[in-house]
């Protein structure tokens, strides 16, 4: 029975393809049509239906199917194109077979449904798993990228290091901040480290708690932590929350914090031009002698 069904379908592939193309065109989704030209849509449909028929004929998945889905993934076509397309194939094929058969009792009907499912389901499974595989891959790559960005340390000069924080801090990131901070302070031999929270959108008790703990840990290994970049609205919410930040130094801007860091390490910035003038004066006075 299954063999016979397949023969019927393969012999009439032209009709079924035609029905399928009409169905797919009718259900063409907004999101596909907006970015893809009609020619590309049509040639992709042709290729898709050929791949489907090849799979039905060979009674299994083909290399063409892999190649086809890989191209769709790279082109960024939505998964729904594939699932809708295969649902449509299921629909038109069953419709066609029923049309061709003279009389169909319940048993026959079930056999037909099963047979068509057996052609379509493996293709859907294969394509969906290839799509989700590629998403998982992207997500894990982005995760790594995000981790690299999440707690950077910049040794701006000897003994002074800056950690600029941008974006939301969750518990995982809070742990990374602590680790990187301590590792960095030791590696760069930092006497002062500035944590810049200008880019942190919300400082709640959890974030404050982690920053306080990090600062305390930095103090324990003999360095000083200065919290900088506290925006006015953040300062007010911290006060409202009743969080005590008086135990370690805070500054409104990175610039002011850096100034304090210089003082703490017994240094200051001098303008080179003035010194040149002074050296000039010195040389002048030496000349006179």
């Amino acid at each position: 029975m299954d063999r016979k069904l397949k023969e019927v379908v393969l012999e009439n592939s032209n009709t079924i393809v035609q029905m399928w193309l009409e169905d797919v065109n009718k259900n063409r989704k907004e999101d596909i049509s907006s970015t893809i030209s009609d020619e590309l849509f049509e040639s992709t449909n042709r290729e898709f239906v050929n791949v489907i028929f090849a799979c039905v004929e060979k009674q299994g998945l083909t290399k063409d199917l892999d190649a086809f889905s890989e191209r769709l993934i790279n082109l960024g076509w939505p998964l729904s194109y594939i699932t809708d397309g295969l649902q449509s194939f299921r629909r038109v094929t069953i419709h066609f077979i029923l049309q061709e058969s003279e009389k169909v009792d319940t048993d026959n009907f079930t056999v037909i449904l099963y047979a068509v499912d057996e052609w379509v389901d493996p293709i859907i499974n294969q394509l969906v798993s290839q799509y989700s595989g590629s998403w998982e891959n992207i997500v894990s790559l982005q995760r790594v990228a995000l981790q690299e960005l999440s707690a950077p340390l910049i040794p701006v000069m000897e003994n002074i290091t800056v950690m600029p924080l941008i974006g939301t801090i969750d518990t995982e990131r809070a742990k990374l901040i602590m680790e990187n901070l301590l590792d960095g302070v030791i590696k760069h031999n930092a006497e002062v480290v500035l944590i810049d929270i200008t880019g942190v959108p919300v400082v709640d008790t959890m974030v404050a708690h982690h920053i306080i703990q990090a600062a305390e840990a930095v103090r324990l290994i003999g360095s000083t932590c200065i919290l900088v970049g506290i925006r006015p609205e953040i300062a007010q919410t911290i006060v409202n929350l009743g969080i005590d930040l008086s135990k370690f130094p805070t500054k409104s801007s990175l610039r002011k914090g850096f100034q304090t860091a210089l003082e703490l390490t017994n240094r200051k910035i001098i303008s080179l031009q003035e010194t040149d003038q002074e050296i000039g004066k010195l040389l002048d006075s030496l000349d006179k002698e």
Partner: protein, 133 residues
């Protein structure tokens, strides 16, 4: 009650979603940046408490409007373990998780109105409101 928008809290990143929705609504209502930050922080505290102590729950928002003032209502609802003594959790520094214990008393100070109903074994509902000055 008929809430306009709700966010389900199940994962840690749902806290960020709730915060963003609350901040957007507050902005639309007309709150200034300082109050927006206060509202976002309060949502963060309530949502994190749900995530930490109840496992899951919901944060809902309501636009408040009377003849002479506008504001935002925030409802944090969970079916978690509830609290034995509501007065204890409102003390500064009380925490069962090694936190700062500043969350709930902080939310009360950040907002204009604060109400908490909790029953052991049944869950907790916290209602807060803030009005535009």
């Amino acid at each position: 009650m008929d809430f306009q928008s709700c966010v389900t809290i199940q994962k840690e990143w749902d806290i960020v979603g709730a915060r963003q929705m609350g901040r957007n609504i507050a902005k639309e209502i007309g709150f200034g940046t300082v109050d927006q930050a206060r509202i976002a922080t309060a949502i963060s505290e309530l949502a994190r408490n749900i995530y930490l102590y109840a496992g899951s729950g919901e944060i809902c928002f309501e636009r408040l409007e009377t003849i002479d003032r506008k504001g935002i209502g925030i409802y944090a609802i969970d079916k978690g373990p509830g609290m034995e003594e509501v007065s204890r959790v409102m003390e500064d520094g009380f925490s069962t998780s090694g936190g700062l214990g500043a969350g709930l008393p902080g939310v009360k100070r950040l907002m204009d109105e604060f109400d908490i109903v909790s029953e052991v074994g049944k869950g907790t509902k916290i209602t807060v409101m803030k009005w535009i000055r």
